[in-house]
């Protein structure tokens, strides 16, 4: 009997904990509320299955617990029941999978009008690069990274000269515009993680990864690293600010371009051929 009560309590406790939990996800700040909806739907479906299976088991133990003289039934198989259970399960799985894949398609399809913003991760800080007036990011190469050229921009690429270099851990983004975050790493794996964005992606040295978002509310958000990157992993924090268009432009005015920060001899001494992104 204790086991029956235990099982009922497990179900009841889990449901109540879920409903009354003060621990819940952050208020979303991007267009990905559909992902939150997917999580909610998954909670409902899986919660119902969990309750059904465990309560059925509790009922069986309650009803068929050994007493003197009880004899178990002998029923090796029941094809009809097994086929029905398979069909119902498959339907439930499909109901989760199909909308999931549709949303994933949206997630990986970056709108053509999205502005590119580059994040460079290194042990254990972030820096950023925005395209300049030409709207294009210049080529970069990790082999070009130095104190004078913290992002490794190819000085021979004219597109790179007006790139805005933000060698600090605070990024500003304008609200209401699709943004493609290009993600680079100079050393080990990192992961650009802003919980309110709902999107995240690993950053891998030697390649450029991405995700896209459209910020939907202004505010100040924490950036964390979500992929183990060594001893300083847990301290690799930064800030991202979602601004109104006006505030964003004011901030942008204060930032320096690559041409402005680089000593002029950069152009002549660079010999390594960049492979770009």
């Amino acid at each position: 009997m204790a086991v029956v009560i235990l099982l009922v309590l497990v179900v009841l406790g889990s449901v109540l904990f879920h409903v009354f939990s003060p621990w819940w996800w952050t208020e979303i700040a991007t267009n990905w509320s559909v992902i939150d909806d997917m999580i909610s739907v998954t909670f409902w479906i899986t919660g119902a299955v969990f309750a059904a299976v465990i309560l059925f088991m509790a009922y069986c133990i309650f009803k068929f617990q050994h007493t003197e003289g009880r004899v178990a039934a002998y029923e090796p198989e029941n094809n009809k029941l097994e086929i029905w259970l398979t069909i119902i399960t498959s339907l439930g799985i499909t109901a989760l999978l199909v909308p999931g894949l549709v949303v994933w398609f949206q997630f990986v399809t970056v709108p053509g009008i999205a502005t590119e913003v580059e994040v460079l991760a290194q042990q254990w800080y972030w820096s950023y690069r925005l395209p300049g007036k030409d709207g294009k990011l210049g080529m970069v190469d990790n082999r070009l990274i130095s104190n004078e050229n913290p992002l490794g921009i190819n000085p021979n690429d004219p597109y790179g000269q007006d790139d805005v270099v933000i060698d600090s851990d605070a990024l500003h983004l304008p609200i209401g515009k699709p943004i493609k975050m290009l993600l680079r790493s100079a050393d080990v794996l990192h992961d650009y993680y802003v919980p309110e964005f709902r999107a995240k992606m690993d950053m891998v040295p030697g390649m450029v990864t991405y995700f896209w978002i459209e910020p939907t509310r202004t505010g100040e958000f924490d950036v964390l690293c979500a992929e183990l990157c060594g001893t300083g992993h847990y301290m690799m924090s930064g800030k991202v600010f979602i601004d109104t268009q006006e505030d964003y432009e004011l901030w942008l005015l204060e930032q320096l371009t690559f041409a402005e920060i680089s000593p002029s001899e950069n152009l002549s001494t660079a010999t390594v051929v960049a492979d770009g992104n």
């Binding site: 889990s14 939990s21 299976v53 090796p76 894949l101 994933w104 924490d222």
Partner: protein, 591 residues
Amino acid sequence: MADIHTKTDEHITPTEVAEVELYHATSFWTKYIFSQDAKVIAIQYSIVAIAIGFVALALSSLIRLQLGFPHLFEFITPETYYQFVTMHGMIMVVYLLTALFLGGFGNYLIPLMIGARDMVFPYVNMLSFWIYFLAVIVLVVSFFVPGGPTGAGWTLYPPQAILSGTPGSQGAGIILMLASLALFIIGFTMGGLNYVVTVLQGRTRGMTMMRLPLTIWGIFTATVLALLAFPALLVATVMMLFDRVLGTSFFMPSLIEFGEHLSYGGGSPIMFQHLFWFFGHPEVYIVALPAFGIVSDLISVNARKNIFGYRMMVWAIVGIGGLSFIVWAHHMYVSGMHPFFGFFFATTTLIIAVPTAIKVYNWVLTLWRGDIHLTTPMLFSIGFIVTFVNGGLTGLFLGNVVVDVPLSDTMFVVAHFHMVMGVAPVMVIMGAIYHWYPKITGRMLNDAMGKFHFWVTFVGSYLIFFPMHYVGLVGVPRRYPELGDAAFIPESVATLNAFISISAFVVGFAQIVFLYNLIRSIRNGKHAGSNPWRATTLEWQTAQTPPGHGNFGDELPIVYRWPYDYSVPGASVDFIAQNDPGTGAKPETTS
């Protein structure tokens, strides 16, 4: 229909090959130390695995000390924290769960349950254990070298695993870790080939494949998976060893280490992840399938009822095993691999939920109209179903690619995999030890201590890992020794963490009671007799308990029926052993 008919048995063929005499050891050394008896090897494997498992348990307590009560102890620094996390994970997955299920239960149960005298290659079997033992020693040594063991996380992702920002990367820590893994795989391969060949070639007369107990189906399929999956890990460890020691660039692109350009170039960190998870996902099922098999038998025995849908259960095990090789990249949805992989791997991953769900249905349907005895093994089996269903269902979040994006790398993932491949298989291991200990030692484990052990372990584990999902929902990343000052993490998360830690200490304490029970009962347990659970399978029908070398008496048993003849209508007792010609019983089926 499964092979349950007993009247005319066309499966019992005449003996085609004469029995070969076993190597009979005479000295203490060859009998108990360098033994070729699978049962002794099983006990050796189990003792070493459980011993190193207690190290992992101690490490988990240190991890929870830091998370629940940060900065309480000075020796828990970020460096040591990452080392604890790494070694805890690696030991639990590889050196405890894999070794105990296959090396321990596999060695003990395969020959006995299929009616064989021993494994087909006893000498190689012995080597398998000693190489495993060496692997464990190398692992333990890494704790004591300068710089300590590696703190790269159990996934050992390069480049960080071999760069200076990671603890244990510059000393011998990472090298010993990789060497130990390579040794483990070599040792396992010797054992694994043995298990597979023994199941295929060593079955006694009448023991068809469709009469194998599900325990054997689980162990057999898991071993096939392991033989196919571990080579990927071996290749990855050797290549990383070369990157670290010889300066090759298999996994290393050109990169900068704290401002200094390194000479690496052209390698792919993601390639390592593919190799790792090509092993790593089947590994989940290498642990889960033996648990599935064993728990099926525990439930059937204690419900005094045949396992429901035996054939479906077998095909589900085989199907899950096959599918487990094409789902690996669901661990890599946010790794930066091509996003279109997400469509494929999300689909295969959710498909695998169907055979898995069928197994769950069949376990609970076995209880339906049963005669349920709530023995300690049965309690652990029930605990397994609860935690496995819980952890399996949260897998539907993480497997569904877009839902995974916000949750991956958070504590939600940690909660999920601990529930589904930590607590759930460990529940089965506990249940299985209570179940087979009487055969191994001839004594029962103390039941009161067993019940206490179950209640504390089950309730405590649920209180650890259920709330942990919500820490992840808040957004707290995994592998953080402290919460930091991020604004989105409320103060109350620290309180919840402290609660989780206290639950963990209580559960840890209960395992010491279990250990005490294991040791004490060797001498002081009640005498078990040969078949205390009134079970049908062959290991309970041996002439001696514990069975002697060669397992059975002069004659090998002949198998006349499937392993689930419980409560057969018309039979005088509620079980008929597999080797019982059973002229009186006329099983009829309802379908």
